[in-house]
Symmetry: C3
Subunit: 287 residues, 3 copies
């Protein structure tokens, strides 16, 4: 057994307030001292498989070859390992829909196993903590050269719980019903639509777009980035992941539009005679 | 002087909001570039030696051989280093009760010194920041092969401030007065009692237990883990550290029972005719 | 091209809630696997160049030789790299005033370039994320031996946006108008004055000093550190960076005095007959 991998990219909902993440890294250090752990994030909201899955999908194109360990709402479904990219990478995590999007982006599942080998696990004094007792030692053993097949029983990739990707729907007036996938640290609201989805009614820079989200009815302007928008103008940009996002210059669009992940947003061509919306944008003369 | 250790496990109340932790790691990198720092946690509540001591005790069985640096409410008492496990590890931190529990779990103190050697410290422009000026360079020097005796004057381990471990007490009705040791990231409430402490009145799965904590009077059910509990049912489980913990399925037991660390909780055999407690569990027909 | 640097010290306003920081470290790991990233802090308040600049200045004396990557409110001004200390270090970040204080403390700028070489950048699917697409690969290329001149066009250091350092001003009564530079994790309030600035009216330990900040009018006592102060007594100490700071023993001086960074504070000699200030200190008999 040689050193197969030397990097473990680690994402979880374990938080940083207690020592849970630190203990996982201590175990890896103990079992596979040559391996480096890259913390993607540990502040996925508790139990939020959807948010974790999206964060992992946004990251997967940037992580080095090696192990990807993702732990969100684990312990309720069986722990699995999925080999991808001809063995260049192995994703480990619970079989709860957390991994499939990232696996798909990495080219699809090759071999899969359930992490059932108890000799590759730690013994708990009580409840099994899957991150500590199952995933950390599995990641370390993979780095030490263990083949995925040593870690447990093979399982058919098609039997795994699929991920859920929300799809946009056409709206009556030619618009599109979208969903907020993610609100980033700066309050930008990433939607589940790309430029193609709004192509029918126009996509050129400067174009105005009607944005309806719950009680909020606003006009947004297509722009290359938030920096060209005036104060208070909502922008619709192609974000750093190729998706449309609502943004404000140096302010939180999520706060301004009262948006959170999973909220529904309808984008559509500008309605010329919108009845006075409570919006600072509409208060100005139209250009 | 060879390379004695290559891992420093680091726990503190320094937080992650400013650069304090980063500067400690920069100093270690500068002085002992071969050493890796494992962050256990830096969000121990400010000055909370008890919480830090417990987090360290939960971690110590998992950290690799090397240096353990613990910094909570430091700077008020002398900085010390304690050798354990035949020299396999050295714990450094303030002599304020933070280290003793972990030291005991590592087999007890062997040699101890006060970190008094100024040539192993950094010079501050003003106040001494013990993490930056004393502990970081001490950890680095230990990794570089310094013997603990070089770092300062020997001190008798028996003269160190002991840790405080809250013990459970028997309650009048055969129950036990317990204390909340820790509330984890998911709201599980770890108590300072194990199964043995409740053995007299029963411990089998499914058994109901009376839980009284301040104004809260609830029935909890002994269960192997939270996943088998119905919604809203409080569970009493043996947690991942071998202690009893109050839990709810995917919700915070701490929020539900209004519990925080150091709160007192009385566990006892079920009182059959509890006078209508303000509890959603009691509102339902008993099974 | 050899391995020029092996450490990247990284400070940002990217937060730890999402995967932005993790992706930067994944990219560095992928491109320059031998390099170690030291996280100084990622919780600089969003867009707060002043706070980031001060945190970087407090850190710079402790970071190892190598790359310093600072990313606060980036993407609005051109990305730059500044060589310092005869090539011992390179600071990279936006040309927005974030870097100059640290550069000055490192001995001043030597060669500077704008990070304009697209072959040293990543290609985004949309918006350029400067941390991910520009700074992370630049840092990795520097660690891999790239010369700063390969990364883009030279630029005159004098053309860069200077940092802003708030200077204290003399007050009418011999006192000094100071500014809160920083509130640390424990609530200590660092001011932009040193002992020299208050020398005219006395600096000896135990001396009382009048502190006026907005509505707050308090007496502080010069002390070597907070530990010697009685409960509720505000102390004026020389902090760990050589600057005067307001402190309380185990409590937050910022909370007590309602101070935040950029707030103005006037220090002056004690006014003997202060008209009843709303201060618990003044309620006691004077010593």
């Amino acid at each position: 057994m040689g050193r197969r991998f030397d990097t473990i990219s680690f994402l979880s909902d374990l938080g940083l307030v207690d020592e849970s993440v630190g203990v996982v890294k201590a175990i890896v250090r103990d079992l596979a001292p040559h391996a480096t752990v890259i913390d993607l994030t540990h502040q996925v909201p508790r139990f939020d498989v959807r948010a974790g899955s999206l964060a992992l999908a946004r990251s997967i194109g940037y992580v080095p070859s090696g192990v990807v360990m993702a732990v969100v709402d684990s312990g309720r479904r069986r722990p699995i390992a999925i080999e991808v990219a001809g063995g260049e990478g192995v994703l480990i995590g619970p079989d709860n829909g957390l991994l499939p999007s990232a696996v798909a982006m990495a080219g699809g599942a090759e071999r899969c196993v359930v992490l059932s080998s108890v000799q590759h696990q730690l013994v708990s004094a009580g409840l099994v903590l899957s991150a500590r007792d199952v995933f950390a030692p599995a990641a370390a053993h993979l780095c030490n050269g263990a083949d995925i097949a040593e870690l447990g029983e093979p399982v058919d990739p098609d039997s795994l719980l699929p991920g859920v990707v929300p799809l946009p729907r056409e709206a009556a007036d030619g618009g599109v019903h979208a969903e907020v996938l993610w609100v980033d640290h700066f309050g930008n609201c990433q939607l589940n639509v790309g430029l193609d989805d709004v192509a029918p009614w126009g996509v050129h820079d400067g174009q105005q777009v009607q944005v309806v989200a719950g009680e909020v009815n606003r006009v947004a302007r297509r722009a290359p980035h938030g920096g060209v928008l005036g104060a208070g103008t909502v922008g619709l940009v192609v974000d750093a992941f190729g998706l449309l996002a609502l943004t404000l210059d140096r302010r939180s669009a999520a706060d301004e539009l009262m948006l959170s992940p999973t909220d529904q947003v309808t984008l559509g061509p500008l309605v010329e005679h919108t009845p006075a919306p409570a919006s600072p944008v509409a208060m100005r003369p139209r250009r």
